[in-house]
């Protein structure tokens, strides 16, 4: 009733090519942004911001990165965790070498290191596809993990073998390290995620994004339309790894505070792949929905018994949690194999014609 495009006539191709052609969608985005930038910092408590929102945003960004590769270009990768690690270690080294440069600049720059490594391991994709490509990205995962352990230079020869985030300031406000407030860290993460999501959406809706989708849907025909598979696949690997690298750097600098190689292991690659699959392949909204489903839902479920004053021991809660989440994953994938993003789209479609069925 309220979500309806009737009467919104587009008179230019520019208006029709807009990413959100419907007025209500633009309003909704403005409201989400208002909530994210104003309401949450003002009303959210530390627990909510630190253990839910910050990791949610970081995983969303990593999921967007992986979605560019898997959902938009059709190249499956299991190296996400390692590419995040490359970003994190690169940022750590950069801030060690250049302690005076703004940490946000360094976080973005570390994405470039990850992009180069990603492209390198993307080279096999020119010859191999599908499951075989998965195996080569798996090789990237293990090789990079090995590097994170065996090259002590990467963690400044620490005895612990871990990278510990030093204190850095952004415009005189402490942004990283133990004494940075959750709100500051949250706002920086949010700003980076919003800007990078916007850029991802622009790329996907333009010439380059179309080239990626052409490769995904029918690579032979794509080549005939004048797409060079080399360029399209490697640019997808580069952009995807860039996003994962930035997400990895933010994960360590704004969330964990310290990290070892375990933070970038194969489990994280799987975690993010699940977010992408459940959220919806080839959808930016899906990346956020998937991250919310996999990350926020368990935190909420864990908190439920406490809020109702039930005294259940932690291990039981954890087990029940696993069962519920596993059940829900199966339920959602049966209901809609194309992920939460498709459900979201269908809901919007229904709303458009409501109260009529079609």
């Amino acid at each position: 009733m309220f979500y309806r495009e009737a009467g919104q006539f587009k008179t230019t191709y520019k208006a029709d090519q807009a990413i959100f052609p419907i007025f209500q969608d633009r309003m909704a985005i403005a409201i989400y942004l208002l909530i994210a930038f104003v309401a949450i910092p003002v009303f959210g408590n530390d627990f909510f911001i630190t253990s839910m929102m910050i990791p949610f945003l970081i995983f969303s960004l990593a999921a967007i990165g992986l979605n560019i590769l898997v959902g938009y270009t059709g190249q499956i990768s299991l190296g996400t965790g390692a590419f995040m690690g490359v970003g994190a270690y690169a940022c750590y080294k950069l801030t060690t070498i250049f302690p005076d440069i703004n940490i946000i600049v360094l976080i973005i720059s570390s994405g470039f290191f990850s992009a180069v490594i990603g492209m390198l391991f993307g080279l096999p994709s020119l010859r191999i596809k599908g499951f075989y490509l998965v195996v080569t990205t798996l090789a990237a995962q293990f090789f990079l993990e090995w590097c994170f352990i065996r090259i002590p230079w990467l963690y400044n020869y620490n005895d612990s073998g871990a990278i510990e985030v030093p204190q850095r300031e952004v415009f005189g406000i402490i942004a990283t390290g133990a004494s940075a407030t959750p709100t500051t860290r949250y706002l920086i993460v949010l700003a980076i995620v919003v800007v990078m999501t916007w850029i991802a959406s622009n790329i996907i809706h333009g010439r380059i994004g179309r080239a990626w989708m052409m490769i995904r849907d029918m690579d032979i025909a794509a080549e005939l339309m004048g797409i060079r598979p080399l360029n399209a696949k490697l640019s997808a690997f580069a952009v995807s790894s860039f996003y994962c690298g930035v997400a990895g750097a933010m994960m360590v600098f704004f969330w964990l505070g310290a990290a070892e190689v375990e933070s970038f292991d194969i489990n994280h690659s799987f975690l993010i792949l699940f977010m992408v699959v459940i959220g919806g392949l080839g959808s930016l909204v899906g990346s956020f929905l998937g991250a919310a489903f996999i990350w926020i839902l368990p935190v909420i479920l864990r908190a439920i018994p406490r809020t109702f004053g039930l005294d259940i021991n932690a291990a039981t809660i954890e087990h029940v949690n696993f069962m519920i989440i596993g059940g829900l994953i199966i339920f959602f994938l049966i209901v809609e194999p194309h992920g939460l993003a498709r459900l979201w789209g269908l809901a919007k479609q229904k709303l458009r014609v409501w109260p009529f069925p079609y």
Binding site: N202, G206, R207, R210, D217, A221, L224, M225, G226
Partner: protein, 266 residues
């Protein structure tokens, strides 16, 4: 526009010339010593029974297969080995026997995809979808809309092509090939599996493309009625060999062709 005459075609400028092409896969000889030419502005049909090497011939022309022997001259330039990407750059575009659309994309995006080679704005502008990149996008959208108008597919502009019926998919595929503004358009069985009405529509589009845009068309088709009506000249292949080449009437009367299609008593 005046209709082409036999003399026009005979004296027309040569667009493509294939010379003594042989192609084999291991012991299977797909194409043996085939030569023919395509002149500018004509509709050239390639026909033959199943397995005659027609599709292989198209694949050779646009660079999927590399013939072991022989040369191809396109626009006066001889070439031997090339990637399909380069054929696209030279202005060869095609449709496929089994629809090869980008199933996850809308009709609009599919046809836009056909214009990929004409879009060049760099990554920086693409990132912000602003300035040159946005202008380019809109300018090409206009060109795409013209093709959509021409093929009468306005209502399905925003529909993902995977959801379209077969006949419309074929039409979108033709649109995608046209979007590249090719100098040579290869159509691989554009009417396979269509009903009479859809065939008539498609024939009309092919003639219109040829006459309005002056596009040279090479066409593979099994429906003899359609081929005889549309084609200016016909090449007939059988078991990888050329058995006839000429005007529809000549080909129809050729004893080799009749034997190939109907079989001969031994």
């Amino acid at each position: 526009m005046s209709l082409k005459t036999v003399a026009d075609i005979a004296t027309g400028e040569e667009l493509l010339h294939v010379d003594d092409i042989s192609l084999s896969f291991g012991g299977v000889k797909a194409i043996q010593d085939i030569s023919f030419d395509i002149t500018k502005g004509e509709i050239r049909a390639i026909i033959g029974p199943n397995g005659a090497g027609k599709t292989s011939m198209l694949n050779v022309i646009n660079g999927f297969y590399h013939p072991q022997v022989g040369t191809i001259t396109f626009l006066g330039e001889e070439r031997r080995k090339m990637r399909p990407y380069m054929a696209a750059c030279q202005g060869i575009s095609r449709t496929f026997q089994n629809v090869a659309l980008f199933a996850g994309m809308s009709t609009l995006d599919n046809i836009m995809a056909g214009r990929s080679l004409k879009m060049h704005k760099n990554f920086f502008w693409q990132m912000f979808r602003y300035g040159p990149a946005l202008n380019e996008e809109i300018e090409h959208r206009r060109a795409v809309e013209e093709i959509i108008d021409f093929l009468e597919i306005e209502p399905i502009r925003k529909t993902p092509v995977g959801q379209l019926p077969y006949g419309l998919q074929k039409r979108v595929e033709l649109g995608r090939a046209l979007a590249a503004e090719p100098s040579l358009l290869l159509l691989d069985e554009p009417m396979a599996g269509m009903n009479l009405e859809e065939k008539e529509d498609m024939s009309r589009f092919i003639i219109d493309v040829n006459q309005q845009f002056g596009t040279t068309i090479a066409l593979i088709e099994h429906d003899m009625g359609v081929v005889m009506d549309l084609a200016d000249r016909i090449v007939v292949l059988d078991y990888g060999k050329k058995i006839a080449d000429g005007l529809p009437a000549q080909v129809q009367a050729d004893q080799n062709v009749i034997d190939a299609y109907l079989g001969v008593a031994h």
